[in-house]
């Protein structure tokens, strides 16, 4: 059989497959009906066979190119992306992740670095105003003191949601950037973590020395545990990425990075959830005139929830 005959014979099938691909790209599979799906599968197999034999058939080069594209297109419709499998992610977040967090040395390092430097910076700022001015800047300090000079009062209730939205976009953005920067051998994330810890420590230390102390504590207590833990989590997730490039465990660097990414993303997901929870508290409860006991209670409750999540759920796994 000559190629011309073969092409005449096959052309119609290829056109059919092309039309089915176009349908599948536009519509859901279910709408297409079982007959069309079966036909798609058999047409796909036929096109694959034609492509495999293209060399033996001596098909012209344009036709081979067309077949490569056609099979590629059909392949992408046959094998489709896996969307979120909720059960899988739920299992990951509540059964796998806590144990991994507890055993993750990157998390302990991030935890130690953040809280160690935070504490040191707090002590320094507590004892010397000059340190604080150098780190935070004079203007920023004055601005900070001014903004806490009034006791916390209820906003008219509507401003709270706007502020919550702002905290989500601002804080979770910082966390995600810290995660991405961690890819640079863990150093990028470490630097961001250190700088955050120094800044926050200096602000806390300074605000504890001035007379606006009570107003400041009124504001920061309630959302503190969630927000600071989220910072630590996102920095740890970034370091997990970065360190995987150094300690590859026998894999090629890129393969090691890919494996670390599957472990780090759930951690980062937990961090984003914590940022959102913190933003809700920061928007609604922190600036309200609720008594300090309520805010402290929320802080204690959220801290013990976190402890329960990481240690309680984590130890059960081991």
């Amino acid at each position: 059989m000559k190629v011309a005959q073969l092409l005449d014979h096959r052309r119609e099938q290829w056109r059919d497959l092309e039309a089915l691909c176009r349908e599948l790209e536009r519509r859901r599979v279910r709408r297409l009906g079982p007959a069309a799906v079966l036909r798609f599968a058999s047409l796909y197999r036929a096109a694959c066979a034609d492509l495999a034999l293209a060399d033996a058939y001596q098909l012209p080069i344009d036709t081979v190119q067309y077949l490569h594209e056609l099979v590629g297109r059909a392949h992408n419709q046959l094998y489709r992306s896996q969307t979120f499998r909720w059960r899988h992610w739920g299992h990951e977040m509540f059964f796998e992740l806590p144990g991994r967090l507890l055993a993750d040395r990157a998390l302990w390092l991030a935890f130690a670095v953040f809280w160690g430097i935070f504490g040191a910076s707090l002590l320094l700022a507590f004892s010397s105003r000059e340190y604080c001015e150098r780190v935070v800047g004079q203007e920023a300090l004055a601005h900070l003191e001014a903004s806490f000079s009034q006791p916390v009062v209820d906003r008219d209730g509507t401003g709270a949601s706007a502020m919550s939205g702002f905290y989500v976009i601002h804080n979770a953005g910082i966390g995600l950037r810290c995660f991405a920067a961690g890819l640079v051998f863990g150093i990028g994330g470490l630097l961001i973590t250190i700088s955050n810890a120094v800044q926050l420590g200096a602000v806390f230390g300074h605000m504890l020395t001035v007379e606006q102390r009570a107003n400041f504590l009124q504001f920061v207590t309630a959302h503190g545990p969630f927000e600071l833990t989220a910072v630590v989590f996102s920095s740890a997730a970034g370091m997990r990425l970065g360190f995987s490039l150094v300690a590859t465990g026998g894999l090629a660097r890129v393969a090691s990075l890919r494996r670390a990414a599957t472990e780090a993303v759930p951690t980062m997901g937990a961090a984003v959830i914590l940022f959102c929870l913190a933003a809700l508290i920061e928007g609604f409860l922190s600036p309200s005139s609720a008594p300090y006991a309520v805010k402290a209670g929320v802080a204690i409750l959220s801290a013990s929830l976190l402890l329960l999540y990481v240690v309680g759920l984590g130890l059960r796994k081991h």
Partner: protein
Amino acid sequence: MVAAHRAAANNSDMANPRRPLDSRIEIITPENIAFQYVLAGPFRRLPAYLIDCALCIAVLVGTLVLLSLSATFAGILTVGIGLWLVFAFVLSWFYFSLFETFWNGQTPGKRLLGLRVLSVDGQPINALQAIVRNIVRNLDAMPMLGANAELGVPFYMVGLLAMAANDRYQRLGDLAGGTIVVVEKRSALGGLTPMRRGDVLAFAQNIPVQFVTGRALAQALSIYVARRERFSAARRFEIARVLAEPFCERFDLPEETDPDLLLCALYYRTFIADRPGRDASGPVAVPAVAEGAGR
């Protein structure tokens, strides 16, 4: 066991050393069929990215305008702004991930320009890969003008460097997620070039009946005939002569034979028919080879 697993992971990751430096990548499907994709380089991906960015900005500005219009009627402005900020957060960080997850590796911009994200082994991506490659995008986008503002202007120099440093145009996000971006072209079926010129049909008689075209020759003929229309007569002569001269000697044809005509006749004999007006198969070995390979 562990060692074998690691070796497999390493192998799948390392580029085939014999793969020529090319923008094509060969994928072997579970059906054991090898087919090729064209990889999308930075300058194919940039327009798709710009389209996506423009879409994001348009949606954000549009919703903000709608919000401020509706707020004049009801006092929901601040609640609305809160929701809008959360929406802006989701859009700016997860627009690409969500579309690539639910649209089978495409965003609106990619769909418009026929690009698709796949795993390095040619399989479709999953949600995790889509999230990884698009969070690390933030690092690829460096240096960023106004990096601390939410609306920084990215320059993507890190991503460009990473793409230049590997042979699959992967930016750092692609490397971390194990993904590639391919072009999904939709060219029309380019069939045979019809040969209806009388002189070609007549000349085809001069080629001996028992002559069988080899694979390499068939390929060369198909490439030449597909493109000859674009050349001038002099250029055609120059190109065709290289291939035609040995055949002139072999078929005992006169030396002044037009090389273009000879190649067209060979093309006719190889792909279309043995004799003018007769499409029946001659004593050519092609079907036997085809069926043999099929088994």
